[in-house]
């Protein structure tokens, strides 16, 4: 009799176990599908503002600090707030998987204490920013091979670079005077000649300190025989 009761209980337990198992698996499947659906049209953005207990908001919506957030592409206003620290506000553009990194600056003793206590957060952001800068530099040198040869500085001119509003590289030639313009041009042509990856015609080149009297602010010039 005891044996039968034991077997009956086991059956009931098995039944509930099966139901529980199916429910758990079902819940997991629904959860995974839900998560995947919620990520459609979004990109992974790692937000890390030291200290990581600071409140980070994008367009007024709180996001997880020190973690990955899934966001739609576009421009956002990021605000970061934490007692004892200077408020941070800046515009960012989310276009692809990326990291948004930053470190808050302490303004009083509370902030300074937190900075000491959470120094690991600051060290992590610093190291991530360093890695990001190295990766960006590597990518830029691949995309714009002329960067391997810049900057060039001498007594007559300097040749450097900057990124314009459209994210394009601009080669900036700063001249001591217009008299050194052709010397700078020769230097650029030497770089092109010696590095087969460099094609000067693919770059925006801006001369500062010299002048081009033929330039008429983009007005069209025509002429016939």
């Amino acid at each position: 009799m005891k044996q039968v009761q034991h077997e009956q209980l086991t059956d009931i337990q098995r039944k509930w176990l099966r139901i529980a198992f199916v429910l758990v698996i079902g819940f997991l499947v629904v959860w995974v599908i839900g998560v995947q659906i919620s990520r459609i049209g979004r990109v992974a953005v790692e937000v890390k503002f030291a200290p990581f207990d600071a409140v980070v908001e994008l367009d007024g919506v709180r996001v997880r600090n020190g973690s990955v957030n899934w966001m739609r592409e576009g421009k956002y206003i990021v605000t970061v707030e934490r007692e004892g620290f200077e408020r941070v506000e800046r515009e960012i553009e989310v276009a692809e998987e990326q990291q948004i990194l930053g470190m808050m600056v302490a303004v009083d003793d509370i902030g300074r204490n937190i900075t000491l206590r959470r120094s690991r957060d600051f060290m992590m952001v610093e190291s991530l920013a360093g890695g990001l800068a190295r990766e960006t530099g590597r990518r830029e040198r691949e995309d714009w091979p002329i960067l391997r040869h810049l900057p060039v500085r001498n007594m007559l001119f300097s040749i450097g670079s900057e990124i314009d509003e459209d994210g394009e590289l601009v080669v900036v030639v700063r001249l001591g005077s217009g008299a050194f313009q052709e010397a700078a041009v020769r230097e650029l042509l030497r770089i092109e000649r010696e590095d087969e990856d460099v094609d000067l015609i693919d770059y925006n080149i801006r001369f500062e300190g010299g002048e081009n009297p033929f330039r008429r602010n983009g007005s069209s010039i025509g002429g016939t025989e």
Binding site: G178, L200, I201, I205, G210, N212, F214, I221, T224, E225
Partner: protein
């Protein structure tokens, strides 16, 4: 049994042959961008094909060269590499010798008169020091140099481009210290490079 073996061998050899052919030979179409001229295709200086109008050839993978057969003509991008089925643009242009012959003093004076008409205020300050015709003589590149510069100073140099369209010459864009694809998007890239290096 022997018959089946023979069939198997024949089918195998044919399949292998087809596979080898298609793996090594690619169909290449040649299209003239402007005027058609007789063009020879060479591989290691050995002729492998010849055409006078748009044509296609089966060519073995590797590097080839095109040469215009007519004197005074050349091909803009003569070297091509066959890797896949592809279409090659054949741009027959004047040879350097022919372009130099066309650029007589009279021609350059005529073209530069058009240029200076647009920059009459600078005619005393700059002079053309380098000039060259390109492609089929329908592009003209010049290098202008600042004149009357004090001894010890290097004159400013500016590069300009003109183009003949429907028989009439006009200045393309604005003269620049260095020409780029951004400042002169309508000009063939090879011409921009060559004028910069004049």
């Amino acid at each position: 049994m022997n018959r089946w073996l023979a069939i198997f061998l024949v089918v195998g050899v044919l399949t292998g042959g087809c596979w080898w052919f298609f793996a090594n030979y690619k169909r290449v179409e040649f299209e003239f961008t402007k005027d058609a001229r007789e063009v020879v295709i060479l591989r290691n200086e050995v002729e492998v094909g010849r055409f006078t109008e748009n044509a296609s050839f089966w060519l073995r993978r590797g590097e080839f060269e095109m040469r215009a057969e007519l004197e005074n003509y050349t091909i803009l991008a003569p070297i091509f590499i066959v890797e896949e089925w592809t279409t090659i643009d054949v741009d027959v242009i004047f040879s350097d010798t022919r372009l130099a012959e066309l650029l007589t003093d009279e021609t350059s004076e005529r073209l530069e008169a058009v240029f200076w008409r647009n920059y009459s205020e600078l005619v005393r300050d700059f002079e053309v020091v380098e000039r060259r015709l390109f492609l089929r003589g329908d592009w003209y590149g010049i290098v202008l140099e600042e004149s009357g510069v004090e001894r010890g100073n290097e004159p400013v140099r500016v590069r300009g481009i003109m183009q003949r369209v429907s028989g009439e010459w006009s200045i393309v864009g604005e003269p620049e210290v260095l020409l780029t694809a951004a400042t002169h998007p309508e000009v063939p890239r090879d011409i921009l490079r060559k004028i910069n290096r004049l």
